[in-house]
């Protein structure tokens, strides 16, 4: 992240080497993806080896509401790209607007998830079907919530004068995280809602 603006010489004292934050965060994301991989493979193994996958009285998952949710979450990835674009052009207010839009879409996704959960006829102790469903959607939802929180922090930070001059790695990292959460959801949607046979 070398920008044209010369870095003020002694701005970073002992204990701060800000230029490596993004590297560190990418490494962390790679690691974090493994835990999802573990849950996904656990789900696949349990599902393919189950004798009675669906609990009594449940005949599959309704996919229309989740599909709407998916569309909203995926579009929010576009919104965050637009936000970043405006930040690069130093149009901070437009950046904030689209950033807030992304947050709102994320919040809508969580709301939709909550509505879906409350209408379900099975709980997380309803066999491995219920357990994996709530584990996967819950763990992913936790990541969505974390993403919204991170965006909130970045939004507040954008009001510190001069803070975002010369590139802010926090914004990049948050946006990367948001795309990550999105990609995970796509896999999750395919595994949970599309693969119902």
């Amino acid at each position: 992240m070398t920008s044209a603006i010369p870095t003020p010489a002694p701005a970073h004292g002992h204990g701060e080497h800000p230029k490596h934050n993004l590297t560190g965060f990418i490494i962390f994301l790679c690691s974090e993806s493994v835990i999802f991989l573990a849950f996904f493979s656990g789900y696949a193994i349990l599902k393919t080896s189950a004798l009675n996958w669906l609990p009594a009285g449940v005949d599959g998952l309704e996919w229309r509401t989740p599909l709407l949710n998916t569309v909203v979450l995926l579009s929010s990835s576009g919104a965050i790209v637009v936000a970043e674009h405006f930040k690069a052009k130093e149009k901070l207010w437009l950046f904030r607007a689209f950033w807030l839009l992304t947050m709102a879409m994320g919040a809508y996704f969580l709301y939709g998830q909550a509505v879906e959960w409350s209408g379900l006829k099975f709980g997380f102790t309803s066999g491995t079907f219920g357990g994996t469903f709530y584990l996967l959607t819950g763990f992913h939802g936790l990541h969505v919530a974390t993403g919204i929180l991170l965006m909130g922090i970045m939004l507040i930070k954008s009001f510190i004068p001069g803070n975002y001059e010369g590139g802010e790695q926090g914004v990049q990292a948050t946006s990367l995280f948001w795309h990550f959460v999105d990609v995970i959801w796509v896999v999750l949607f395919l595994l949970l809602y599309v693969w119902q046979a």
Partner: protein
């Protein structure tokens, strides 16, 4: 720190108090890790003494059977999560920044947080001795169904605390790994390309990559275990449609690589130390460095060798037998490289060198029994017997712990500014080597004869070897006394160490002993050659002679 002119303050801020607070200085954190780890080494060792005390007679007479289950479980868990990982992270903290010429770690505050999680989860784990029902007793691998039973029905039970502690340990290790990898990738001295990097840093990079890839699987598996134990799910409960073997996959997907997380840095230590005391360059440096990553790749696809008797299909057994045996190749490359380094060298048999030689010997022995265990029919025969316990203690005590002792003696002068005593060191080495072999060798015949592990009583036909093993264990217990004496007395009043007491080559030896807070600060020397230029007369960095002269001058006037 004030402005940076080269002979920087020779002394870091003195005083012991900084070791007891939240410091962000990697060199302080490194020592905090190591001291805390050795405290738990004593705790885990004490439990081992109880185990061996129990096993000196065939009857179960020293402790109750259920207590015994808790004791070996906690012995294994403490030794791994509270001794060996923390002590290695301590070495990483001390060595990585100084070896690559970085002022500190990439994320000093993350580093602090990662360290302080260790005492937190250690207290959680130790507190499980005092909850109703006692500590976790399902063995260090916590297989269901044993680990998801909660007969007393208390929400907070030993197994619950065990899972929490292991999960926290995982978080701490991931924080550490992100930090180490970023530091190595982004903060090397000018001129230090990857192929000019000391092998210890290569192995640390490899080991920490394994942490990043493997640990999340264990954490995921542990979350599901906790839900089964405490919240009524049935991921691993066969009667609820779950699959107990699934847990074994999660567990070993991490815990096999974990043995490389332990042994790779020890390979790094061997690769650093053999050249110094043989006065020869490391034989086949590039191959030794690259072999670390071949081990990473292969190490990720061998985990099922722990599950040969668990009802996995035959093709999986065959496949994983093959990959496991393949690992012998990159490992063998390293062993031959070390032998090639020692070959016709001018050997100096100092304490660190002796520990490395002993460690290498034990490692080769463990490698042979490892190949035996990789063979499916042999493994099925000796699975869950003392043969396995003997094999992995040869790796972990015989090779890893001895390598760690070597590292401590070798770099002690650098980070404390004092020389350790050679006599006590050699005594410690001798007792360790003899004790370890006396303790762990008899476990092999015992296993072949069929003595199962994790039992507090056994058939009297096994008595002979068990008595010998116990005597070896008590000798190991005694061996720690000269070590502690040495560390304490030499740290307090040992002879002052110069910047390079062993005549070693490496950036860390171009720093004063102990190094100032930010190491080279802004005057990081430019690296111009490969490491280990022993006997070649090639300088490692630009203006090396000048830097050394200044250090000597500083020492003369101090």
């Amino acid at each position: 720190m004030t402005s940076a002119t080269f002979p920087a303050d020779p002394k870091p801020p003195a005083g012991w108090s900084r070791y007891f607070g939240f410091s962000t200085d990697a060199k302080v954190i490194g020592i905090q890790y190591i001291v805390l780890a050795f405290f738990y080494f004593l705790v885990g060792g004490f439990l081992a003494m109880i185990i061996r005390g129990e096993l000196i007679t065939p009857a179960s007479d020293l402790v109750d059977r259920t207590v015994y289950n808790g004791i070996y479980t906690m012995h294994g868990t403490i030794m791994l999560f509270l001794f060996i990982f923390p002590v290695l992270n301590g070495l990483n903290n001390l060595l990585i920044p100084t070896m690559i010429g970085a002022p500190d770690m990439a994320f000093p505050r993350l580093n602090t947080a990662a360290f302080w999680l260790v005492p937190v989860f250690s207290l959680l784990l130790v507190s499980s001795f005092f909850v109703p029902g006692g500590p976790a007793a399902a063995g260090w691998w916590s297989y269901p169904p044993v680990s998801i039973q909660n007969p007393l029905g208390h929400f907070i039970n030993g197994q619950f605390l065990w899972i929490l502690a292991v999960a926290l340990s995982g978080i701490s290790s991931i924080m550490g790994a992100v930090n180490f990898v970023t530091t190595i990738l982004r903060m090397r001295a000018p001129g230090m390309t990857l192929f000019r990097m000391p092998v210890f840093c290569w192995t640390a990079l490899a080991a920490q990559s394994l942490q990043l890839i493997g640990l999340p699987a264990l954490t995921g598996g542990a979350i599901m275990l906790l839900m089964d134990l405490s919240f009524g799910t049935s991921f691993y409960r066969a009667e609820g449609g779950g699959d107990p073997v699934l847990y074994q996959h999660f567990f070993w997907f991490y815990s096999h690589p974990a043995v490389y997380v332990i042994i790779l840095p020890v390979f790094g230590i061997f690769s650093e130390i053999f050249p110094v005391y043989s006065r020869k360059p490391l034989f086949g440096y590039v191959y030794v460095a690259l072999a670390s990553f071949i081990i990473v790749g292969l190490g990720l696809v061998v985990w099922v060798h722990h599950m040969f008797p668990s009802g996995v299909s035959q093709w999986m057994r065959d496949l994983f037998m093959g990959t496991t045996m393949l690992i012998a190749v990159p490992t063998g490359v390293k062993v031959f490289a070390w032998l090639g380094t020692i070959w016709r060298g001018k050997l100096r048999l100092t304490t660190p060198m002796l520990f490395c030689l002993g460690g290498l010997f034990n490692f080769v022995f463990a490698g042979i029994t490892g190949i035996m265990l990789a063979t499916v029919p042999v493994d099925i025969h000796v699975s869950n017997t003392y043969f396995v316990v003997g094999h992995f203690h040869y790796v972990i005590y015989g090779a890893a712990v001895m390598g760690i002792f070597a590292a401590i003696y070798h770099w002690f002068p650098k980070f404390t500014g004092r020389m350790p005593y050679e006599g006590l060191g050699k005594l410690h080495c001798l007792l360790t080597f003899v004790g370890a072999n006396l303790n762990f060798l008899p476990m092999h015949p015992l296993g072949l004869m069929g003595m199962p592990r994790r039992v507090s009583s056994y058939d009297p036909e096994f008595t002979f070897w068990n008595v010998i093993a116990s005597l070896g264990a008590f000798l190991l217990g005694v061996s720690i006394i000269p070590f502690l004496l040495n560390m304490l007395s030499s740290w307090i009043r040992g002879p002052k160490a110069g910047h390079n007491p062993w005549n070693a080559i490496g950036l860390e030896w171009l720093l004063p002993s102990p190094p100032p807070v930010e190491n080279f600060e802004d005057e990081v020397p430019t690296v111009i050659s490969r490491p280990y230029g022993y006997g070649t007369g090639e300088p490692l960095v630009e203006h090396q002679a000048e830097i050394e002269r200044r250090l000597e001058l500083q020492e003369a006037t101090a």
